[in-house]
Amino acid sequence: MKIDNTLPLEYSTEQNRMNVLGFWIFLGAEVMLFATLFATYFTLAHRTGNGPSGAEIFEIAPVLIETFLLLTSSFTIGLGVHAMRLGRKNAMIAFFAVTLLLGLAFLGVEIYEFTHYVHIGAGLQTSAFTAILLTTLGTHGAHVTLGLFWGLFIILQVKKRGLTPETANKSFIFSLYWHFLDVVWIFIFSFVYLKGMM
C-alpha cells in the first residue's frame, strides 16, 4: 500500500480514502433508516389506543441530561480526532475514553427511562405509539451500544499498535459514526420529546 505523507494519517492510503468515503455513503443509508422511523413515528404519534400519550409520559429532566451527555461526547471525540492529527496518542486515547464514558452514562439514563416507561404502563405492546417510540429510541440506543464496543476495540488497537494509517483510519471513521448518532439524537430530542411536550 502506498502511503502519502502529505495527508493526515487517516487519509494516507488509497484504501483509507475509500474507507472514509464508503462510510459517508453508509451514513447516507442511515439517514434514510432513521427517516423511516421518524415517518412512522409521526404517523403513529397520536394513535395511542388505550395507552398514554407522549405528553403524559415524557419527562424533561432525563432527556436534558441525555442531550447534554451526548452533545459533550460528540465534542470530546472531536477533540480526540484533533489530538490524533497532532500525533498525541495518549491525549487521543484519553478523549476517546471520556467519550465512551459519556456514552455509557447516556445509555444508563436511557435504560432508566425505558424501565420507567414500562413501569408506568407504556410498554412495547401497549399501543402503536409506545411501540414506535420505544423502537425509535431503541434503534438509536442499539447504535450507541454497538458504538461503545466498537470504540473500546479501537482504543485497544491504538494502544497496542500505535497510530498507524490503519488505526487512525478506524478512529476517524468511528468519530464520524459517533457524531452521526449525536445528530440523530438532536432530531429525536427536537421532534419526539420537545414536540411531544410542546
Binding site: 468515503l21 442531550t67 457524531h179 410542546m198
Partner: protein
C-alpha cells in the same frame, strides 16, 4: 494543553449548547404550534450542520462533492418520504 482545544471546536460546542437552549424555549414558553415547529426545525437543522462541518470535517477532502451530494440526496429523499407519508396517511387531502 491549549493546542488540544482548538478554537473552532470549542466554539462549535458552545454554539450547539446555545442551540439546544434555544430549542428548549418551546418547552418553557407557550408558543403556538407553527412558531414552535419553526423554532425546532431551524435549531435542529443548524445543529446538524454544525456537527457536519465543524466536527465531521465533511468538506476537507477531494471527495467533498461526493459526500455533500450523498448527504443532500439522502436528506431530500428523507424529507420526501416523511412528508409524503404524512400527506397520504395523516393529512388526508
Amino acid at each position: 494543553m491549549s493546542e488540544l482545544f482548538p478554537r473552532k471546536q470549542v466554539m462549535g460546542f458552545v454554539f450547539s449548547l446555545v442551540l439546544t437552549a434555544a430549542a428548549l424555549t418551546v418547552y418553557f414558553m407557550d408558543l403556538s404550534f407553527a412558531v414552535g415547529m419553526t423554532v425546532l426545525l431551524v435549531t435542529a437543522f443548524v445543529q446538524a450542520a454544525v456537527q457536519l462541518v465543524v466536527f465531521m470535517h465533511a468538506g476537507e477532502t477531494d471527495d467533498k462533492v461526493a459526500i455533500y451530494m450523498n448527504i443532500y440526496y439522502g436528506v431530500a429523499i428523507a424529507l420526501v418520504t416523511i412528508f409524503g407519508t404524512l400527506l397520504i396517511l395523516v393529512w388526508d387531502m
